[in-house]
């Protein structure tokens, strides 16, 4: 549990808020008794007492809520942080299974986290509700035991009865979430592919598809909501029924004057919170199920899918007054590369397709080109080598200067190795930030710009390296994006550079200069390419076909 101070302070003051009605209800009863007896002065005094009690209640609420909201924010943030970090770290014990699609992963960060927070919120309410139930019942029972039983028992029965619906609640919830994901997924695809939709004149068809998915979602949502609300409405409505029952069993006491307005006033004063108990209990039960689904789903994103890795405590400086120092990059020590050996490396997708076994050797400062037809496994080979071939079973080994790498994903990052994927992804930030992904000196940055043939482009931009490149780098041309990604891969002067079809978005002249720059920098290069210029410079050309070298 994080930020225990604000958590417990919040908890304590919520207690004041929840318990004051015990006093207020009791005062109301005394007030009506005084009314019955015609002692007006006493009624005024009691009214004043009531005002004081209620004022205290509000003060405790203020302090309680603010502490609580901070504590909940911290909790939500570290859940999100654990998921995000598991998705972003390269190798190591905490690396999670990469999510298939970012758009579909977003509900884990938003809705699933909310579900867990709501459960904790509900648990707080429930803990006080139960205390209130015990004390309140005791006070009422001392006034009229049978009426109290008639009042409290139906409330509890509903609380228990609602639990019978738990299985159904969970099922409906899961179906609704799936339907919601389908809608969000399509909306996300459409928003990302607006141009594709436009130029294919597909707006009508895709919106019709959206309409179908939203109708499915309506059905699942109505079922989910009606059941959820129904359980709650039952808890709420039962308070009137319970009061009616209490009146019914008290008919005799009423006619004899042993039961009347004063007793009823206490009942009415307590009834609000008493009926709250089964309602909140039902809600907590339902949320426990929802939160269970949520935790399970969130665990998909963290290491070994273990929920323990989801709730790792993290002290994140998110308070307004806290300093937020840049995190130090978690990178391995540079180990100068003399020779890289790949031995019987293979990576198989569940269907059996894939690459390998492949063996190859890269001496220091050599230039190796991998070529081969579409679907021959070139990209998979590079990713297997780097230890990031997700969704495959990998075997074989990679040796760095003869030493076998146990955790390739952790070791083969800058400054040891850098990877440039076929379709590099940039983020909406400044150009410098996209390249450095952290802090580097101006000289280092300038050198990277030079290596990636970006100097000319940067000079033409008004803001230079501070230029904002827009969402996913869309303010840049395709070639510029590719070269920014190249600069990003080269900025730490890695020992080994792995390039997946660098030339695909570059014109011939730029590409020639780029190969020259890489050679001049003395880097060991492994590149997928189909161009003569690459073959001519290569120390070895490997031809991959059907997943094996030919």
């Amino acid at each position: 549990m994080h930020h225990p101070r604000s958590f417990w302070r919040g908890y304590l003051f919520f207690g004041g808020f929840f318990m004051t009605p015990l006093v207020s209800g009791w005062l109301l009863g005394r007030g009506f008794r005084a009314l019955e007896h015609g002692s007006t002065g006493r009624v005024y005094a009691i009214a004043a007492g009531l005002a004081v009690a209620e004022s205290c209640r509000m003060a405790s609420l203020y302090i309680g809520v603010l502490g609580w909201v901070r504590s909940m924010s911290h909790m939500a943030t570290f859940l999100r942080a654990n998921m995000l970090e598991a998705q972003l770290v390269s190798g190591g014990a905490l690396a999670g299974t990469p999510a298939g699609s970012a758009r579909e992963a977003i509900p884990h960060f938003r809705d699933d986290v909310d579900d867990v927070i709501q459960l904790i919120d509900g648990a707080l309410d429930l803990s006080y509700g139960l205390v209130f139930l015990a004390i309140g019942s005791f006070i009422l029972a001392r006034m009229n035991a049978p009426a109290t039983a008639a009042l409290v028992l139906p409330l509890l029965a509903i609380g228990v009865g609602a639990r019978l619906l738990d299985g159904r609640i969970k099922r409906y919830r899961a179906l609704d979430r799936a339907a919601a994901s389908a809608v969000t997924g399509l909306v996300g695809d459409l928003m990302a592919a607006a141009t594709t939709v436009k130029v294919n004149a597909a707006t009508d068809a895709v919106t019709a598809r959206l309409a179908t998915l939203t109708e499915v979602r309506r059905h699942t949502a109505v079922r989910d909501r009606v059941l959820d609300e129904g359980v709650q409405a039952l808890g709420r409505g039962v308070s009137n029924v319970a009061f009616g029952l209490a009146l019914l069993v008290s008919a005799k006491a009423l006619s004899e004057g042993r039961f009347g307005a004063p007793q009823m006033a206490v009942m009415v004063g307590y009834l609000g919170w008493l009926s709250f108990v089964p309602r909140i209990a039902g809600r907590v039960m339902a949320r426990r199920k929802q939160a269970g689904v949520a935790i399970e789903r969130m665990s998909w994103l963290v290491a070994r899918n273990e929920s323990a890795n989801l709730v790792l405590d993290q002290d994140l400086p998110i308070e307004a007054h806290q300093d937020r120092p840049r995190r130090r990059p978690r990178r391995p020590e540079r180990v100068s590369l003399e020779r890289l050996d790949v031995i019987d490396l293979s990576a198989r997708f569940p269907g059996g397709s894939g690459v390998g076994p492949v063996s190859l050797s890269l001496p220091r400062a050599s230039f190796t080109v991998v070529t081969g037809p579409i679907g021959s496994g070139k990209t998979t080979l590079l990713r297997a080598l780097l230890g990031i071939a997700t969704n495959t079973s990998m075997s074989g080994e990679v040796r760095w200067n003869g030493r076998t790498l146990d955790d390739r994903a952790a070791f083969l990052v800058p400054p040891n190795a850098a990877f440039l994927p076929q379709v590099p992804q940039l983020i909406s930030d400044t150009l410098a930030d996209n390249i450095a992904l952290g802090s580097v000196t101006d000289e280092v940055l300038a050198h990277a710009l030079h290596l990636a043939e970006l100097e000319h482009d940067i000079a033409a931009m008004g803001a230079g390296t501070s230029t904002l490149i827009g969402p996913r780098g869309l303010r840049l041309s395709g070639g510029q994006r590719q070269r920014v990604a190249t600069a990003r891969a080269l900025v730490h002067l890695p020992e080994l550079v792995v390039l997946d079809d660098l030339s695909s978005a570059l014109d011939v002249e730029t590409e020639v200069r780029l190969w020259d720059n890489l050679a001049d920098a003395g880097m060991t290069v492994l590149a997928v390419s189909h161009r003569a210029v690459a073959f001519e410079r290569a120390d070895q050309v490997l031809h991959l076909e059907g997943g094996v070298l030919r």
Binding site: V69, T77, G188, M191, N200, R209, A320, G479, D507, V508
Partner: protein, 579 residues
């Protein structure tokens, strides 16, 4: 401030199509409110009758009546929930589709400046907030309205002074609540946009997760996440503070109500103006207010989210594309000529023009290759032809018709783009070729075969994930080619379309592309000159200007042309080898 009016007008417009449904819902809610008011009247009689020595059976009978009223109110309540949820979803599903269509119609500039994550939040998140508002808040607000009106009516019948007192109390309540609400709505809006930024950032980092992993950049990304979380937290605390302000007002109102009920009773009961039973009725009526008010607090988050969301929905729907769709000229039949009449283009906020004074005529039915270094304006040229962007000055004409005179649907129905980065959709192979339109399976299969994907032609139901999981970049490219085959357009733009395809595959589809070009006007943008060996004409672009234009054979033969020079360099370095 015109902002609330906009919201109410927006709400009215949203509800109108399903008006009858909402009226039925209103009736259900009104009946439930009436039963709620009747219960305390029964209790009042019990108290007064008991003090006048009523028999046990009379009292028991009245208690039974109270019990029945409570049970029936319960059933009506559930009916209301069902009706409200159904209506809300029907209504908002319509909005969701309208918004998606609207956003898809907005211009390139809009999409360039908004992340997909942000747009998902608008089209999906915000509309869901509105839906929650309609299903949760609207029926409860209606119920509260009926309850309050009925309450004042009942009190007026009992004693006019009580009704006046109740009116004063309610007016005070309304004024206090209104004041707190405005601040809460503002703070909530800030919180929502901070959250949109947080989720947008998370999505972007997840999209780039492979890059970030391979570059060991997790900690940098996490620093940004923490910054954005801090922003979200600050706004959460602010909005919670505003929220408590509101809670105070509501809880205060109830407490004050209790005190007022006691004091009123102390004054009126001893004089015999009202009975003890009526005094108890006052207490019960104050408590009756608790439920709608508590609902209001519980749902306030929904209200706040929806208030902001509704404003944003309306804002977005009111945002007009800079590409005005006012043309009425039908598409000139057949392959069009493409004319650029002194076209210049400068993106908003940029200093330098992307294109400057482009004057070109590309004859109908010919294939034109556009070459130039990256960033020279080639892609912008193609966007102009598709009217994804508008020329700042000058005019583009297709088949002699100024492009702005063609209705957009007409234009987009006859042109096609094969981009460098193909976007795939979550769905089957068929969905990805037809883009969810109805089409014959045989046609889809044929299109796939022609595009060079025979293996998928027999596997139309194979699921593909967004982002192209399960396909290589080259295969995704071929899917885009299949889309075009299926649509049979008159004008095609290939924007570096084969850049990511290996030479073997390229050779396989070059023939297919040549066949595709037959009888159409085709613009091929390429930096790989081998792609342009079969084109009729060549346009060389540099720094936003057309520096050369002519027949390919003539330019190739002219030793001094830019193109010939490129060919010399290109042949030297671009002799793509196969095998």
């Amino acid at each position: 401030m015109s902002e609330p009016r906009t919201r109410w007008r927006a709400l009215g417009a949203l509800l109108r199509p399903d008006l009858r449904r909402w009226v039925v819902l209103g009736a259900l809610v009104a009946a439930a409110a009436a039963l709620g008011l009747a219960g305390p009247l029964v209790v009042r009689r019990i108290i007064d009758q008991a003090s006048h020595g009523a028999t046990v059976s009379t009292l028991a009978w009245m208690a039974g009546l109270y019990l029945i009223l409570a049970a029936v109110a319960q059933i009506l309540d559930l009916g209301g929930v069902w009706a409200a949820t159904t209506s809300a979803w029907k209504t908002t599903n319509g909005i969701r589709v309208t918004m998606a269509r609207h956003v898809l119609g907005l211009d390139h500039e809009f999409h360039r400046t908004h992340t997909p994550g942000e747009l998902i939040q608008r089209v999906d998140g915000d509309v869901t907030a509105v839906s929650n508002f309609l299903s949760l808040v609207v029926p409860k607000a209606l119920g509260a309205l009926f309850l309050v009106t009925g309450m004042v009516g009942v009190l007026a019948v009992l004693d006019w002074r009580l009704a006046i007192g109740a009116l004063g109390y309610l007016a005070g309540l309304a004024v206090t609540l209104r004041r707190g609400r405005h601040r809460a709505v503002r703070e909530m809006q800030d919180e929502m946009s901070a959250l949109a930024k947080l989720y947008g950032g998370i999505e972007e980092r997840l999209t780039a997760s492979e890059d970030l992993r391979a570059l060991g950049a997790s900690q940098h990304a996490m620093s940004r996440f923490v910054d954005e979380s801090a922003g979200a937290m600050a706004t959460s605390v602010n909005s919670e503070r505003a929220f408590i302000g509101l809670w105070w007002r509501i809880q205060g109102a109830l407490s004050v109500g209790h005190v007022i009920a006691l004091v009123t009773a102390a004054i009126l009961v001893p004089r015999g103006t009202i009975t003890l039973g009526t005094a108890f009725l006052l207490l019960q009526y104050v408590d009756l207010m608790e439920r709608p008010l508590a609902d209001m607090i519980n749902q306030l988050e929904v209200v706040q989210k929806a208030s902001g969301a509704m404003i944003r929905v309306v804002d977005l729907l009111e945002r007009q594309s800079t590409i005005a769709d006012t043309g009425t000229t039908p598409w000139p039949p057949g392959a069009p000529t493409i004319e650029f009449g002194d076209v210049s283009l400068r993106y908003a906020g940029d200093d330098e023009a992307v294109l400057e004074q482009v004057d070109l005529v590309l004859p109908a039915g010919q294939t034109v290759g556009v070459v130039g270094r990256s960033g020279s304006g080639k892609t912008t040229l193609s966007r102009l032809v598709l009217r994804l962007v508008e020329a700042t000055t000058g005019e583009v004409r297709l088949g002699g018709v100024p492009i702005a005179d063609l209705p957009l649907a007409e234009l987009r129905g006859h042109v096609a783009l094969i981009p460098q980065e193909v976007e795939l959709f979550g769905g089957t192979v068929r969905d990805n070729v037809t883009l969810f339109a109805a089409a014959d399976d045989a046609d889809v299969a044929e299109a796939l075969r022609r595009a060079g994907l025979p293996e998928l032609a027999t596997d139309l139901d194979r699921p593909l994930a967004a982002g192209g999981t399960g396909l290589s970049a080259g295969e995704a490219q071929l899917i885009a080619l299949a889309r075009v085959w299926l649509r049979n357009p008159d004008l095609i733009v290939l924007d570096e379309a084969t850049a990511r395809i290996d030479p073997q595959t390229e050779a396989r589809i070059n023939a297919a592309v040549a066949e595709l070009c037959h009888g159409r006007t085709v613009v091929i943008i390429a930096h790989r000159l081998s792609t342009l060996s079969d084109v009729d004409r060549i346009v060389v672009v540099d720094d936003g200007r057309v520096v050369e234009h002519g027949e390919r054979s003539a330019l190739a033969a002219d030793h001094d042309s830019h193109f010939a020079r490129l060919l010399r360099v290109g042949l030297e370095v671009d002799r793509d080898t196969v095998g």
